[in-house]
């Protein structure tokens, strides 16, 4: 599971101050947020975040009363050519692997795409990408 990044999914209510409460809990405890994605509904939000110390972040957040869950995601380095994102999507689609959601972020001038697939096809997805010579970022890259 070298490539499985432990993404935290956190339930927050859609009201003023909830998101900042969440980020403050992390920063107060010296946890750095590498990436954050907010999935909205009208009533609540689902924060998906990659941090440098997921285990500690989960424990701290739960202590503060947040509902937290780990989801394995993987990251792919964005190559500086047109169609690099498409290459990943096509390779997975070819083997009937569903991408649930994807987002991207930059870190130290490197662009990274994060992908979430169904948890039971995670291993298979990694194999397919390796077969297609797509460079996957190892999870340890994100952790402090």
């Amino acid at each position: 599971m070298k490539y499985a990044i432990k993404q935290l999914s956190v339930f927050i209510e859609n009201k003023a101050g909830e998101l900042s409460d969440f980020t403050q809990v992390l920063s107060k405890n010296g946890i750095s947020i590498k990436s954050i994605l907010l999935a909205d509904s009208t009533d609540f939000g689902l924060v998906r975040t990659i941090v440098d110390n997921p285990e500690r972040a989960k424990a701290i957040l739960e202590e503060e009363g947040f509902s937290v869950r780990f989801t394995n995601v993987f990251g792919v380095k964005i190559e500086d050519v047109v169609g690099s994102f498409d290459k990943v999507v096509t390779a997975l689609a070819h083997e009937n692997i569903n991408i649930q959601y994807t987002y991207s972020f930059y870190e130290a001038n490197i662009g990274i795409f994060i992908f979430s697939v169904e948890q039971n096809s995670f291993e298979e997805a990694i194999k397919i990408l390796e077969k297609n010579s797509i460079e996957i970022v190892s999870a340890s890259h994100f952790y402090a």
């Binding site: 999914s9 339930f11 209510e13 509904s41 609540f44 009363g65 509902s67 869950r69 989801t71």
Partner: protein, 432 residues
């Protein structure tokens, strides 16, 4: 078998009896209780205006506050030399309420409780383990005195000391028990923990439970664990104590001892008398009591009355188990809703807790109901759809069970404001 022939009177005989008692009671309170005389005068009525049972709706209501205002003995209709027993409610808010019984009232209490015990099949051969609290509260002594009069052996165990209670239950071989449903469950848990084989070690065949609401599921659970018939006993001290109504072995509905306690169901908002089958607040008039006769007492309990004959042969009308308190009732677009009903629906759905908050608002002419529900601590998903499906499911269940359209909002565990440890259930933002 019934205890008294009055339990199976024909409708016309019962009505005739009720009317003659009602007239007597009206005369009694008018002449002997200044509080009632004043109330009658304010309404411009005289005892002679009561000529049919329906005329009862002309009479004033009595509220718990009226008992408090006349603390301690102001509503008694006899002198203290006639009173043989006094009970009182704990006054957590304001003054306590005080009730007094004459010898005659004690006879009536024993009579109605005798009916209750007979519904459970008890005779003088039985042994009753009375695990209802003794003291100022009417429960313990209400069961106790009546059982003694029936020559049933009573064990006044009261509440608490669970281990010793189990020991006595086994060694004495009690055949019947009284108490609250939660105490019955607690006893069973303790019995299992202490290694008793419940069905072998105990000889219980029937239990008389009351004083707190119990769902159908809980009643069945208690009946199954102990292998007993579950008889629900309803009562309130202002009327007499336990024995106002009780269920028989044939149904979960409770027969009202209506030859002594005349029941009506009213709309708690308007005071208007409702038809049989409609849910509203139970109002009770004592027909035969002397010490503290009470006219149209607002019980605050929500139920409905049915006169469909019961298979047991008793003709006394029946009420549902109390479904809620009138203080908690919400009227949403004309539909009556009780928090207890919402709780019941939520308790059957996984992934959420029963910590919820109802927020009622006006949207134009319509009432809009939002329910915030705390998610279970174990439930978390990375999929927005899962939350939406859960929300839809709860909304669907509430619509099916209660005929109300609600907007469910899922909120984080422990996020609803608490008051003394309990979530604040209802916020009504509608201008009333």
């Amino acid at each position: 078998m019934t205890f008294s022939k009055n339990e199976s009177l024909s409708s016309s005989n019962l009505k005739a009896l009720q009317l003659s008692y009602l007239k007597e009671t009206v005369l009694r309170v008018y002449h002997l209780v200044p509080f009632y005389k004043k109330k009658f005068e304010e309404l411009g009525i005289k005892p002679s205006d009561i000529n049919t049972l329906e005329d009862i709706s002309k009479l004033p209501f009595t509220k718990k506050q009226d008992l408090r205002d006349n603390y301690p003995f102001g509503l008694f209709s006899v002198d203290m030399d006639q009173i043989v027993r006094i009970h009182s409610s704990s006054g957590t808010t304001g003054k306590p309420t005080v009730v007094g019984y004459t010898e005659h009232d004690m006879d009536i209490w024993a009579e109605v409780m005798g009916r209750v015990f007979t519904m459970g099949g008890l005779t003088c051969k039985d042994l009753l383990h009375n695990a209802t609290g003794y003291g100022l509260f009417t429960g313990g002594l209400g069961f106790h005195s009546a059982a003694e009069r029936m020559k049933i052996a009573v064990i006044p165990s009261s509440t608490g000391f669970t281990s010793r209670q189990l020991l006595l239950l086994r060694d004495f071989g009690a055949t019947a028990i009284t108490g609250t449903p939660s105490f019955a469950l607690h006893l069973a848990e303790k019995a299992k923990a202490e290694g008793y084989d419940i069905k072998k070690d105990f000889k219980l065949k029937v239990g008389f439970f009351g004083a707190e609401p119990a769902s159908e599921g809980l009643k069945n659970e208690i009946a199954n664990i102990w292998g007993i018939d579950y008889i629900e006993v309803y009562g309130l001290s202002e009327i007499i104590g336990p024995g106002v109504a009780s269920s028989c072995k044939h149904s979960h509905l409770l027969h009202v001892n209506e030859d002594h306690f005349y029941p009506e169901i009213i709309d708690p908002k308007t005071g208007e008398v409702l038809e049989d089958g409609e849910r509203g607040e139970l109002v009770v008039t004592t027909l035969t009591k002397q010490g503290l006769p009470i006219i149209r007492y607002r019980t605050g309990d929500i139920t409905s009355i049915t006169r469909v004959p019961c298979r047991c042969g008793r003709t006394l009308c029946r009420i549902e188990s109390i479904v809620g308190r009138s203080d908690d009732m919400l009227v949403i677009n004309g539909v009556n809703v009780f928090p207890s009903q919402i709780e019941h629906v939520l308790s059957k759905i996984n992934d959420i807790t029963i910590n919820y908050q109802i927020i009622a608002q006006k949207k134009g002419y319509l009432d809009k109901l939002e329910i915030d529900i705390e998610l279970s601590e174990n439930f978390m998903s990375d999929d927005v759809n899962e939350f939406n499906q859960l929300k839809k499911k709860i909304e669907h269940e509430l619509l099916n069970a209660l005929y109300i359209n609600v907007d469910v909002k899922l909120v984080a565990p422990r996020s609803i404001q608490r008051s003394e440890g309990k979530a604040i259930r209802v916020i009504d933002k509608r201008a009333n």
